[in-house]
Point group: C2
Chain length 148, copies 2
């Protein structure tokens, strides 16, 4: 449903929120290894998140990527938005240009329930909620090395 870039971004932000801080930056090599993502491509995704102020970075020795306390209050929807925009949540399920509540397509109502519900969930779900779920054992993200 979401692009690879978005999947990488979502999981990397959670990873950084859990494992990094301004004092404990993590290099792209480590992140890519831990998450099992292609290093260079993930680098681009993270650079993009930096430009959007969702995560941060610094160069040079002891440099790397990191999250700050405010990152915990970012919603999953914000991360999706930063990567591929929110057109998914606006487009008709059948791809019709002219489709709205006035002139609904044949699956308009059902699709809206799905799409809007997901939108709400993702906008309410903050990074800190995800961390809480992971720590309390309600949710899981299985990785190569079980780092998260």
């Amino acid at each position: 449903m979401f692009s690879k870039s978005t999947e990488y971004a979502l999981r990397a932000v959670v990873y950084l929120a859990k494992n990094s801080s301004e004092e404990e930056r993590i290099g792209i090599k480590t992140i890519a290894r831990d998450l099992g993502f292609p290093e260079s491509y993930l680098g681009k995704v993270l650079q993009h998140l930096v430009r959007k102020n969702i995560i941060f970075s610094s160069k040079g020795p002891t440099g790397g990527f990191y999250a700050i306390p405010e990152t915990l209050n970012i919603s999953l929807l914000d991360i999706i938005d930063a990567n591929e925009g929110l057109s998914f949540f606006k487009r008709c399920g059948l791809g019709l240009v002219e489709c709205d509540d006035e002139k609904p397509c044949p699956i308009h109502d059902e699709y809206h329930v799905f799409r809007d519900g997901l939108y709400k969930s993702l906008s309410e779900k903050k990074v800190k909620d995800v961390l809480e779920d992971l720590e309390s054992g309600i949710a899981f993200i299985s990785f190569n090395e079980g780092v998260i």
Copy 2:
């Protein structure tokens, strides 16, 4: 959400169910013009639907594509399945391989509710239901020429 091929397929099947029969076949040129789709590509999509017995075709003069009465009982999910499979309805929202009810990802529950709801809607929605909605003015599909 769905691929272009699937969108083309969904709309073409509805079009054929409404406008064609074994005696009234419609050529690819006409279909592509009416729906505003690229002719050759739509041809491929329709050929694929023919192989899956969702629509039918015959060659030569008076040939063309057509739906049969049974086509009315095909669900939108069947059409999606014939085109891109149902992996969308099985995959984790975060793209995790290991994600199920036992080891749910952080958005597992919310995502499941909406995805399964959509699945149910699409599997219950038959081509004939779509035609009924269109004819009674409950739903709309706007096309180039307003053919449907």
